[in-house]
Symmetry: D2
Subunit: 350 residues, 4 copies
Amino acid sequence: MSAPNYSFASDNTAGLCPEAWAALAEANAGRAPSYGDDPWTAQAKKLFRDTFETDCEPFLVFNGTAANALALAALCRSPHTQILCHETSHVDVDECAAPEFFTGGAKVIPLPGPDGKLRPAEVERALLRGHGVHYPKPGALSLTQSTELGTLYTPDEIRALTASAHARGLAVHMDGARFANAAAALAARGVSPADFTWRAGVDALCFGGTKNGMLTTEAVVFFNRDLAREFEYRVKQGGQLASKMRFSSVQWVHLLRDGAWLRHGAHANAMARRLADGLRAFGLRLIQEPAVNGVFVEMTPAVYDAMTARGWHFYRFVGDHGYRLMCAWSTTPAEIDAFLADLKQVLAPA
Amino acid sequence: MSAPNYSFASDNTAGLCPEAWAALAEANAGRAPSYGDDPWTAQAKKLFRDTFETDCEPFLVFNGTAANALALAALCRSPHTQILCHETSHVDVDECAAPEFFTGGAKVIPLPGPDGKLRPAEVERALLRGHGVHYPKPGALSLTQSTELGTLYTPDEIRALTASAHARGLAVHMDGARFANAAAALAARGVSPADFTWRAGVDALCFGGTKNGMLTTEAVVFFNRDLAREFEYRVKQGGQLASKMRFSSVQWVHLLRDGAWLRHGAHANAMARRLADGLRAFGLRLIQEPAVNGVFVEMTPAVYDAMTARGWHFYRFVGDHGYRLMCAWSTTPAEIDAFLADLKQVLAPA
Amino acid sequence: MSAPNYSFASDNTAGLCPEAWAALAEANAGRAPSYGDDPWTAQAKKLFRDTFETDCEPFLVFNGTAANALALAALCRSPHTQILCHETSHVDVDECAAPEFFTGGAKVIPLPGPDGKLRPAEVERALLRGHGVHYPKPGALSLTQSTELGTLYTPDEIRALTASAHARGLAVHMDGARFANAAAALAARGVSPADFTWRAGVDALCFGGTKNGMLTTEAVVFFNRDLAREFEYRVKQGGQLASKMRFSSVQWVHLLRDGAWLRHGAHANAMARRLADGLRAFGLRLIQEPAVNGVFVEMTPAVYDAMTARGWHFYRFVGDHGYRLMCAWSTTPAEIDAFLADLKQVLAPA
Amino acid sequence: MSAPNYSFASDNTAGLCPEAWAALAEANAGRAPSYGDDPWTAQAKKLFRDTFETDCEPFLVFNGTAANALALAALCRSPHTQILCHETSHVDVDECAAPEFFTGGAKVIPLPGPDGKLRPAEVERALLRGHGVHYPKPGALSLTQSTELGTLYTPDEIRALTASAHARGLAVHMDGARFANAAAALAARGVSPADFTWRAGVDALCFGGTKNGMLTTEAVVFFNRDLAREFEYRVKQGGQLASKMRFSSVQWVHLLRDGAWLRHGAHANAMARRLADGLRAFGLRLIQEPAVNGVFVEMTPAVYDAMTARGWHFYRFVGDHGYRLMCAWSTTPAEIDAFLADLKQVLAPA
């Protein structure tokens, strides 16, 4: 009945989480050196290393498109290269050819795969394409964790893919726009962030801050430090070096230091499960069982239109009947319940 | 029985045709201004205009990859663009991402289609992909005439594609690496070069010289003169401006002025038909009826190996049993007959 | 005597101004559509148009390097172009070749000129260089207002430069990292923001938010709307489209709506004058009379070292004896006085 | 009196030398594998190694702009780099920003130096510019041998520059558009091609074929083989891989195998000296004593106009009175004498 401005459109329509807000306030007291020579940046770097239990090399940039494109440029190192990715991946379908632009002309090659996930056989088949210099050489394999369809790679699946990639000369990139959701889900199975990144062969991770409740900050974390060489120049030339970097770093300090990033991820995941349970109870078909914070469900366009008319905001995603409902760190049980209550009315026969 | 070094591997393994050779000799007498300020370049430009019956704007570059990539860059005008092409097209699979490089990061999108040809429905479906600025905007549609599978678009088919493209903001490029073969085949049906290029809506044509018997020269012919603006700068910056341009221009003069280019195309096409007839007579299945100078035929790997062992050179092209045999301006009936004689022995039961 | 962590190193070591902070708090209440479909973005666009008294086209990006480089790419439209700028300009010496990168290969050409300012004669002399396609064609002229040496172009000076530029095919870019300081200084002479931008022939302005007290936001304002065509795609492909754009827009709303941006600029300028007056009173030579918020003064390295030892932070800028002291929106009279008090002790004979 | 179409405009207005012509004829007999899998390409590679007495890695491309730009891209390896060169160098003033384009955005920095030559002090001073990531990192030093002013670096001068460059992280490129002229002049002093290239620290050489009498071929010779890694992909993606490569290779075979390249260089140099002696005898001032095949002389615009009216073609090069007269492999003593005879009449008082 009510039509609040609640939204399941994206996990980036939420605002800043309390920890991020407190962090900004802390950094805003007084002056500090610019371009990363401040104490928070050093502290954030240490926290990334602690989080991943390894001497990784983290860099902060402004958004996910830049993080992915710059990381891929660093992994490919030249424009005459191939970037393999899943056909639903953000780097192929949602970044306006930013990877092609930042690499200076690499070829992004979308590959099929069930559940939004790549498999080694698909990667190997792709690498048979072309002959010699007439086709770009293997550059990078890009994996999305969690995927665009709300699924998760297991560490074993990642390991199989990275082994196959490395054997063929591809460096491995992980798009972790929703890394926190993935890490929270995997933590419940006893899998650490290290386990499904560098220990599974990932060379560089884009660790999303925005969808985790932060403002204008994403981290590019190099586990393969050779590939981080000169990355600071790429960041600067790419228009991604913050003069007031402390405002980015301080947010990571507040989110990483006591696990708030994981708690927010876990909360969003739990909200998605609550929502999925409600939808299933109404007899709607879930396209994927929600592994993280996205719910993919089938409904008729008429139902969608009726929900939209009641002020709910979410997107059609797959075919004509597949819809995506995203939960965020800020989603509340009350929002879920209000949505389900409205949906019940919409679905009810006259 | 004999095993000469005859080759059906490609139409660029042939040497220079007599007219091209005579042309080079003519240009080599004495000095001439560089960078196109010579009399042959002016004459060649006029001959292109006569050939196409319109005030087109031709430019000469060194090879087909550069011709295609520079033309596409001119048609797209910016890196945040899509280039649509057939999934077998040279611009996607044989140019090492040169279109991505010369455009500065456009996305080349391969599309399926029977017989190596695109259809408007496929183009329109492709343009539904992506939303707003998150996906590159329509840039160029690239058609290959004759196609990589040795087929031809009719003028009506081209017109339907260009109408669809122009309505959606795509400029239209024609990769004419084998334009002479296409033009010769269509001339037999009363279709002129103008009819299946600008009259059918093509904005820019890459007119292949190399496969027509010339040395290191391809023409980029703009029918849409607006899109030719500043192209001379692209050519120079792209490393494609010949200082001794007269040696390129003079070849076009000699080939275009009395139709030698068409005669060479027609000859290669006729040789392909002779070869196809012979193969069919042996009971081999032709994958495509040869419309131009390529013959696509099925044979077993064992037969292929036996022919290779006898010194014949050609490539596997489709699947495990599809082979391509290319004829050139220089292919002789005797070569065809020798090939067929050897094949007869190979195929003969003991 | 005291050694606080006061800094005159840069105007980007300051934090966020109160208006920017209040703005962030306002945007953080609840959810809002992403990518600019929020109410603040619409409001900010209107305020830019009001501020400049014209139907300009503003875009928001993250930092100054990206703003300049993307704007120059839009003005040049192709990589075979020249960008003329002053030899002290940020686009040449402080952006790691970002303009070369974002244009895809334009040539940035630094020119001399007294007081950090270009003159038409210098621009015209530069354009005599090169011949035809062997040199890139005129693309853009970049002016910095206020300049890197703390000086100001008058509207007449700008008009003379833009007239000269437009006559030669150069579009005109203004790097306004310190636009607020310039506008405040010129307002005191009765010159409006419109007067020294579009009315003086500027095609696109990079309007700095960071140095005006905002967080991670700069505006690219196109007065020549033709040149803004497709800029939204450049922003996205360039990794500069904020998903949570409301946090950028809301700051502009709060700064522009009642002139806070100008007050902050005027305050920083006033602090620079107070500082300059003090330095002059000590007998130090000012390299430039401060027109805006930077003070350029000569002192000995020994004096500089002594001040550094007392905790003051600022940079050597010109030669061995020229130092730069930057004031910000947050600089207080007390800071100035503390600096001068320390300097007095340093300068005092035993 | 006579006004033949003789030209001293450039050494690329000449045609093909007899060896190049014979080479083309040889390659034109029959078919051969494309893309360098022919016997001449293998032979040419061996001859480059013999000529330079080292296991260098040569590649053939079409023209000098592409050779320089691709070589610099290989040496810099990334777009966030500086390329230092002399302010008269072809890579800065005559290639339409091709180095910027092929590197994807490197900054080309022209430096002054007497006689068209760089000195270590100038290189080192240039490298003081910029701070940290705010300025592109050292990429490549480009030297031109012989220079654009017809002068020569000695091996010692080159060694001093390459030592300085390597110590600062710059790879060293030599633009040898007129390498044959330089080699011939230095051979007379007992200096071998190896002595003033790799033995003096040069990493990659662009060895000009066009100005030595060949058609559409230049060699990029890597002495530092690490830097040649993946260069074959750059060549292909850059539109510089010849399908009929044998026609390029065979010319190098014929020119290199018995020293014809050096004889042509020596001849052009001798013609320049004959011309210079004649000019000096008329009392004209030589701007540079000709070390190779270019004569730089002062004359009045009136004299220049009168010579032009008599059909002689050459260019103003420095200031208002400095003119350049280039000799080629094809220049004859009779041409020189005819020029001097005409000039005598022009200079003669009534």
